[in-house]
Symmetry: C2
Subunit: 249 residues, 2 copies
């Protein structure tokens, strides 16, 4: 176990201390989104440490998503994370539009499959029942931020196809307008994960970067209608919940 | 951009496919928590791939927190993540005890400090106002799962000290019983991050593993009373929220 006295960084590696200083400048607003940070040479002089030490601190902050490197231009403070309330992700499209963002999606894959056991069980299906599997890359203001895989039992929706989905503003608006279906109950799970090979390409972030795995089970009249599994870039999204403490707890 | 046809893993590296197969066995329950997985030699035979390929798949699943290696014993399926409802984290201690877990904490650091700008602003303090800074390692059933740093403005609580905190079951019960203070309003933020050097030691997980950064601002009568910043091991916790879709949205 670490010595309590170490906690203020007194005995931690130098690069950790440099990382903490830069992070504090970002968090306190001394460095604003889009600001260029000092060069390695300048930082190494300011903090009286080697350039290798500075490089390690900066590399980790890039990996963590606080800074972004732009080839030939320098290193900049990343855009702020977009705050999203929990329990209000019914429609990504609607929520983000209301806040002045431009949400878009691109269908990466759409097919009818026999689902894996883990998916089949969550949908409450018997073996060999077929499902639609829709994979979408979702973007905000032109930047990919989420890969969402949606499963819908095939027998619940006649003739769903890629053209209909593409023509609709969102999957939920398609369900409501075309099929008169409205989910009435949601259970959402989220857990921190790492970006894997596939999502690294689809989301344009390094493998191993922080991400949120978000799973939603949507119900109509207590029957599972939809299972969606999303990977959300950690560097661009933050979730929040606000609540009053019950009088007696 | 990836070719849509690649998505089923057909053209992905072999180790990614092996990783997906093992993950599906864990998610579908074919492999249960605590189960040993096959040895590298066995897996390499089952899947007709090299041992290096198997090793890479297993190493990533260990890093992601799905498997755990035990020196000299083998590799096992990790314990399941503990489901925690969002907006109900008022008291970690109370919540976990109600579910049959044994929550404990250990004070890593307790001191009176002049806070950094980012902390000061969140607490709504003027420059040079002092705060208590309490760092606790929190465990569940003997296993460290969270490092929580709590800041409380010093002028709000007379004579808080380490002994009082240690003697109390939880910080909130101390506030209620000793000081007759009860937080009435919370805002909680969470975002995925990576385990850093310090938390790697305190939580006994590898640096770079997935974690949740959880920040809470607690109010009494619209004044900020508490700021807490926690790092929670990603491999042991999952959060969820259940909600009804409003009739008109």
């Amino acid at each position: 176990m670490t010595n309590p006295l170490d906690l203020n960084g007194k005995k931690w590696p130098l690069y950790v201390q440099i990382k903490d200083r830069l992070l504090e400048d970002i968090r306190s607003g001394v460095l604003q989104p889009g600001d260029a940070i000092k060069t390695e040479a300048q930082l190494s002089e300011v903090y009286s440490v080697s350039r290798a030490t500075v490089r390690q601190a900066v590399t980790e902050l890039v990996h963590d998503g606080y800074l972004v490197r732009q080839q030939g231009r320098g290193t900049f403070v990343n855009k702020p994370r977009i705050d999203t309330p929990v329990g209000n992700m019914y429609s990504f499209t609607k929520h983000m539009e209301e806040r002045g963002h431009k949400p878009e999606f691109k269908i990466i894959d759409f097919e009818i499959i026999m689902p894996k056991a883990s998916v089949r069980e969550k949908l409450g299906l018997r073996e060999k029942q077929l499902v639609y599997r829709l994979v979408r890359q979702r973007s905000l203001d032109g930047e990919p931020i989420m890969v969402e895989t949606t499963f819908i039992p095939m027998h619940l929706l006649a003739d769903l196809d890629q053209e209909k989905i593409n023509a609709a503003k969102s999957l939920y608006s398609l369900l409501e307008k075309e099929y008169h279906i409205r989910l009435d109950h949601m259970v959402e799970y989220f857990e921190p994960v790492l970006i894997d090979d596939l999502n690294s390409i689809l989301l344009n972030v390094p493998k191993g970067a922080p991400a949120l795995y978000f799973e939603r089970v949507g119900y109509v009249n207590n029957s599972v209608y939809e299972l969606s599994q999303s990977i959300i870039r950690g560097d661009r999204c933050r979730y929040f919940v606000e609540w009053l403490v019950p009088k007696q707890q």
